[in-house]
């Protein structure tokens, strides 16, 4: 059925080879629905403007896995990943784009962002309101493994930064919070979707630390009467950056259309689509009411950027490993 439906498209593509261009966008998992719609909208605008048909192929997977695939030779024109650290790796390990990629587009190359919130069971029976509540004895917290999941690193940094930056907070308090919090984690899934499944389907845990866009998705689904979202007083602005891969677009001759695609993400239409799918557009003065008011800090403000955060917290024998090294 599907193949038949594609047939006319293929014929069309064969007839007008000149005027068709393809792009590959390597992205992370929760953006599937967003980019499906963005790609359709952009293809329409591009055709109107240039008369050229653009076909955008999507590849989704864990953010780090996608970065490695691009480093190892996946011909992605665009990388739209969960954290800047992964695009940094494409730049530093793969030498596929300049190391200052983040400065090439407005707002750290993040046309939209998300933040980290809590999902609790309906009625909030354990009275979870802020980060401190997650470290209380007897509360079960579900979050994925920061060593394998980009989303989990945002969760970890949100908790750490919030404890450090609250009035009277410091590093010692932050470390204490993290020790209490991770002592309450019964399962460390490999990815963010795995944690959502553990919490929502397996019924494990009192609170799930999650991307706001995933939380909104969960609440829009069939389970909106079983869960509610709790917004902490302070959280991280999880910037999900985008970049074109210079080596690939120059080889394939797709730079113009790839640049236009990224620009489209910053346009009113692109920003509205992001908002529709639960991502916070970064260029909009007033957010839709579904996004709760929350004060946020960025990774640059809280940790001096990804390179430092990664080295101090997540590398082998970093602070996260130390949380588990003490309780043998």
């Amino acid at each position: 059925m599907r193949a038949l439906a594609l047939l006319p498209l293929l014929l069309l593509a064969a007839c007008s080879k000149e005027s068709t261009v393809t792009l590959l966008n390597a992205s992370y998992d929760p953006t599937r629905e967003l980019y499906e719609e963005v790609n359709r909208a952009f293809a329409k605008r591009w055709l109107e403007k240039t008369g050229q048909t653009v076909v955008i192929n999507q590849s989704h997977g864990g953010s780090g896995k996608q970065a490695r695939a691009v480093i190892d030779g996946l011909e992605a024109d665009l990388v739209t990943l969960a954290l800047g650290w992964d695009i940094d790796a494409v730049a530093s390990k793969g030498k596929l784009l300049p190391e200052n990629w983040a400065t090439r587009l407005p707002r750290n190359s993040a046309p939209f962002a998300s933040t980290i919130v809590f999902v609790v069971r309906k009625g909030n029976p354990r009275g979870i309101h802020d980060w401190e509540d997650l470290a209380k004895p007897g509360v079960q917290v579900i979050t994925p493994n920061p060593k394998t999941s980009g989303g989990a690193r945002w969760n970890y940094l949100a908790a750490y930064g919030a404890a450090q930056r609250k009035p009277g907070g410091d590093d010692a308090q932050a470390k204490q919070l993290m020790a209490g919090l991770f002592a309450n984690v019964p399962v460390l899934d490999a990815g963010a979707r795995g944690s959502t499944t553990t919490f929502a389907e397996r019924g494990l845990g009192d609170v799930l630390i999650a991307w706001e866009n995933e939380a909104l998705l969960l609440l829009n689904g069939a389970s909106k009467d079983t869960f509610e979202v709790v917004v902490p007083s302070l959280s991280i602005l999880a910037e999900t950056p985008v970049a074109l891969v210079d080596q690939v677009v120059d080889r394939r001759g797709t730079r113009t259309v790839a640049e236009a695609y990224l620009k489209f993400l910053y346009s009113d239409e692109g920003q509205a689509l992001a908002s529709k799918h639960g991502f916070r557009p970064t260029g909009v003065a007033t957010l839709e009411p579904k996004f709760a008011k929350v004060s946020t800090f960025t990774i640059a403000e809280g940790f001096g950027g990804w390179a430092t955060a990664q080295r101090v917290h997540f590398d082998d024998r970093g602070l996260f490993d130390q949380l588990y090294a003490v309780k043998k």
């Binding site: 790796a89 394998t148 019964p186 399962v187 460390l188 899934d189 082998d316 024998r317």
Partner: protein
């Protein structure tokens, strides 16, 4: 060397050697090359940190436990399938292969759903204090699932081709049923059984897809070595990841080699 009566030795050895090099040796040497970027102390600290050691214990321990369980039940299952005729036998026979065909991630998800605290089995087990999902027990169960067909499928053909006259002869000579099994049937099955257990063990050591779901991935407690390898890749630490892979490879090779020797040693005695 004595010339074989079979012609074509040189050609077939050459072709086999080439195929083996392309399929097995080339990727393995790539693996070795990657670790050469590490210094000795770097390699040692990468493979000897407590978390890595804890993961070897779980990976090899759980694989061994599941291989033993499969050895016992696989033999029983093969016996039932070969020796008895019962309705639905063809269906049971086909079911045995399912773990081969099912994507292991699906197996892992299903087992987790079954044994989680709100699952079909978990809701009855957890009040009794038996925790399966997110514990080493769950890991063993998942590995048993993926490894079962290996034992059944290696033992089954040998059992089928076992000459019934041997058993008759044993009975005629006055052997009890247990003696017949222990002295006549089991020795002829043993090499095949050992192969099956070995294959099931080897499969279990490398298993990743199903385990990440059921183990819960807790550092020091339920992390398998393949997960640590993925963890290191996630930090772009290719050398550290391959260092762990080398350890797994070396241990697996040593174990498999020992079992092969054991098997060769057990064969002529009973031939």
């Amino acid at each position: 060397m004595k010339k074989s009566v079979l012609p074509g030795f040189g050609l077939s050895l050459g072709v086999t050697g080439l195929a083996l090099t392309l399929v097995v040796l080339l990727p393995l040497s790539g693996l070795l090359l990657e670790t050469f970027t590490l210094t000795w102390p770097g390699f040692w600290s990468a493979v000897s940190e407590p978390r890595a050691v804890a993961s070897y214990r779980l990976s090899f321990g759980a694989a061994f436990a599941s291989a033993v369980i499969n050895g016992f039940f696989g033999l029983l299952l093969a016996w039932v399938l070969v020796r008895y005729r019962f309705p639905g036998r063809a269906i049971v026979d086909a079911l045995v292969d399912l773990p081969f065909a099912l994507p292991t991630a699906v197996a892992g998800l299903t087992l987790t759903a079954l044994y989680a605290k709100n699952g079909l089995l978990g809701q009855h087990l957890e009040p009794l204090g038996i925790f399966v999902a997110f514990t080493p027990v769950g890991v063993v169960i998942a590995l048993t699932f993926v490894g079962l067909p290996f034992v059944v499928r290696t033992v089954q053909p040998v059992l089928e081709s076992l000459d019934p006259s041997l058993e008759e002869a044993a009975a005629v000579l006055g052997a009890s049923r247990w003696q017949t099994f222990r002295r006549v049937i089991f020795p002829s099955l043993f090499p095949a059984l050992l192969t099956g257990i070995t294959l099931s063990f080897a499969r279990a050591v490398g298993e990743y897809g199903s385990i990440v779901f059921i183990s819960g991935n807790m550092p020091m407690r339920t992390e398998i070595t393949p997960l640590l390898i993925v963890t290191r890749l996630e930090q772009y630490d290719y050398a550290g990841a391959t260092a762990l892979a080398i350890v797994m490879l070396a241990v697996s090779f040593a174990l498999l080699f020992t079992i092969n020797v054991l098997q060769r040693w057990s064969q002529p005695r009973h031939a």
